[in-house]
């Protein structure tokens, strides 16, 4: 059970039918015990401030229209891929700097081992903070492009920092195993 919030999109303009994006995402990953057909689409009669009990809502409001379900599923999947592509575009604007810093950190780790891990961790964090500062200073106008496509600053930076740091940690672990 989760709260209806921004995870839910108004998919039909003017009609307050909502698609539960979280559930659709789960169907993509085909989690065990989660039936794709059951979770693919939930129609909610009302708007905000309600609880979304996925199974219950589906059983109570099953409109029985598999064609619409399939179309909406494809629509949502395309939206998700589009979002990833747009975030990728934003990431590309400082990808080179990020890759160079990661490569330097990996080089230092290779040279000095775990004794230097804290240093390279904070080096990576500091360079990300510097990147954040410069993008906000010199490319802040471009945020309107992403906002007009529905992506807030918080979403852009949250996703990129999570991805960049995860990749950094993963590479450190792989390098440590290899060594």
């Amino acid at each position: 059970m989760h709260q209806i919030n921004d995870w839910h999109l108004n998919i039909v303009p003017g009609v307050q039918h909502l698609i539960c994006v979280r559930c659709v995402l789960m169907t993509w990953y085909k989690k065990p015990g989660f039936q794709a057909q059951e979770a693919s689409m939930h129609f909610h009669a009302s708007f905000l401030r309600q609880l979304c009990d996925c199974g219950k809502v589906y059983k109570n409001n099953n409109i029985g229209c598999s064609f619409i379900q399939v179309v909406m599923n494809i629509f949502s999947r395309m939206k998700f891929l589009k979002t990833i592509r747009i975030i990728g575009t934003f990431y590309k604007s400082f990808l080179l700097a990020s890759v160079l810093v990661t490569a330097c950190c990996l080089g230092l780790f290779w040279q000095y081992g775990f004794s230097i891990f804290a240093v390279i961790f904070w080096l990576k964090a500091a360079t990300l903070a510097v990147t954040f500062y410069f993008i906000n200073k010199y490319k802040s106008k471009e945020y309107y492009y992403y906002q007009n496509l529905g992506l807030s600053k918080a979403l852009l930076w949250g996703t990129i920092i999570a991805f960049d740091f995860s990749l950094f940690i993963l590479l450190i672990i792989q390098l440590y195993k290899f060594k």
Partner: protein, 217 residues
């Protein structure tokens, strides 16, 4: 279905100076609403407040539902800022894909772009770039479009075409626009607000505009 965007209760001040204090703006689908005002009266700020990127005390409602950060729902509201906002590395094709615009229709309306599908927007002239940005915001699916100085950098022929585009597109959405080329704004808008001393006034005739001290005949 018609939709209504309403804004009031806006309070904005910078360094103790009140910029906006008594504002009411209503914009409906099927209509173009103009917003005129002298430099520094807060027109752009008001648009950013409606869009949700500038924090202020306010009440922004679409179909009587309140939205604090409307930009998080691009299906409701899109905003054309007064500066170039599309990353210069993106091609025309990519922009059309992102904003769900038909490139063929775009190149039919503006033939100068017919052979530039894969050209980066950074290689366009200022006017061409503005035209692409304006077209993207006006044509992308949403209930409302906020246009801040849409005629800047455009030549007279382009302005004429843009006016035709806006009049055509108002069938699909509500348009709120502000520009210092007030004759162009007056020519196409159905409602006109004047922003004077932080307050909006609904102007009904040219004499109202003169009385409120924005322009002279």
């Amino acid at each position: 279905m018609n939709h209504t965007l309403e804004t009031d209760g806006v309070q904005l001040e910078f360094d103790g100076r009140k910029i906006l204090s008594d504002v009411y703006v209503q914009c409906k689908t099927g209509k173009i609403t103009g917003l005129l005002g002298r430099n520094g009266t807060g027109k752009s700020c008001l648009m950013q407040i409606i869009y949700g990127t500038l924090k202020a005390e306010k009440s922004v409602r679409i179909d009587k539902l309140a939205y604090y950060e409307a930009f998080k729902r691009p299906g409701l509201l899109l905003y054309l800022p007064q500066f170039n906002f599309i990353p210069s590395s993106l091609s025309l094709k990519r922009i059309c894909t992102d904003f769900e615009i038909d490139y063929i229709l775009f190149s039919k309306r503006f033939p100068e772009f017919a052979s530039k599908k894969n050209t980066s927007i950074g290689n366009f002239s200022g006017g061409e770039r503005r035209l692409v940005e304006l077209y993207a915001i006006v044509k992308a699916p949403s209930y409302f479009a906020l246009l801040d100085e849409p005629f800047t950098h455009l030549n007279p022929l382009q302005i004429q075409k843009v006016k035709e585009l806006l009049v055509e597109e108002k069938r699909n959405k509500g348009i709120l626009l502000t520009d210092h080329m007030y004759r162009e704004v007056i020519a196409i808008c159905d409602n006109l607000y004047l922003l004077v001393n932080g307050k909006t006034h609904l102007a009904k005739s040219m004499s109202d505009i003169e009385t409120l001290g924005y322009a002279r005949r």
